[in-house]
Amino acid sequence: MSDRRAMNQARMVLLRVFRYRNGDGAPRYDEFRVPVGPRTTVLDALLGVRRRQDPTLTLRHSCLHASCGMRVNGQEVLACVTRLDGLGDRVVVEPLAGAPVVSDLVVDMEGFYGRLEPSGRPLVRTSEHDTPALMELERFEDCIECGLCLSACPVAATDPRYLGPAALAAADRLIQEPRGADRKEVLGWVDDAHGAWRCHAAFECSEVCPAGVDPAGAIMGLRRRLLRDRLPRLAGRSDREARP
């Protein structure tokens, strides 16, 4: 079907898109009318805007790498799998929250990936170390590192030092399947006022996770382990006595 025919059959939706360039005084919102069919995704519409209306619109997308995370009507989503149909006639598109905006819908993910580093990217299988390209790309982990959880987390909204749901979920996964890692070291990393104890059980991270990782459940699992380690010490028993 040609673009023109598709446009004739589609209804029109008004996209209000967050715009910001490094050096701008303040962000603004630009409005674009876009044709929407039953299968049109937010990413389709934004790429259409860039192709036909404003080539300066900046967004990040890369199939299979979950880099198109953004907020649509305030909800953290992956733009590539979020259909516009059913979102109303006026849709607000904004970058993920809690990370510095580089340009328009692109945020700086360095802080997010930096938080994950201490987990050692736990599920890279040993055999993959012989294949450098795979080692960089595949982690065999449900978490797709899209950053939606950090954007949705109300604690991360005010605590820049908070490790965040993804890193804590990675730590929990590492403890479940250490593959040579030192469990105590991992627990020591997350046993911090800005680590597992900072979570306030809002479960928003689990609500928005597109991969079903349940980071909040993982954080509670970490706390349970930390408490199990601490309680015997508080009761005056040594580690050796506590864990025969």
Partner: protein, 130 residues
Amino acid sequence: MTGKGLRAAGGRHPSRWLDPRGRHLGTWAFVLNRLTGLGLVAYLYLHLIVLSTLLRGPAAWDGLVAVFRHPVFLAFDVLLVLGLAVHGLNGLRVALVGSGLLVDRHRALLVAAGVLIGLVGLVAAVRTFA
């Protein structure tokens, strides 16, 4: 990728707690806990200031008590009980779930807390105004 503009456009702010778009029940419980916590701290200081009226003698205190019997202030009393119930019961939920207990039932706990808060509010309102 640093600079004044970049930091100004991104960043973190408590105002995000009050953005209702796309949020779920757990975040609203979090926000209510924060707001009731702040409200209860403010009330504590206000309460101490009001109590200091006792230093000015029984007449000053009795006059103030008469003012506080006005329905508007009685409504504030009900609000105070509600705030205590929200903060206390949700705090209990957070303590339980945060200790790794009943994690799979966190939503049910939230609903149960909501029902109890409603009942406490109702009883407080009836007993205050009846």
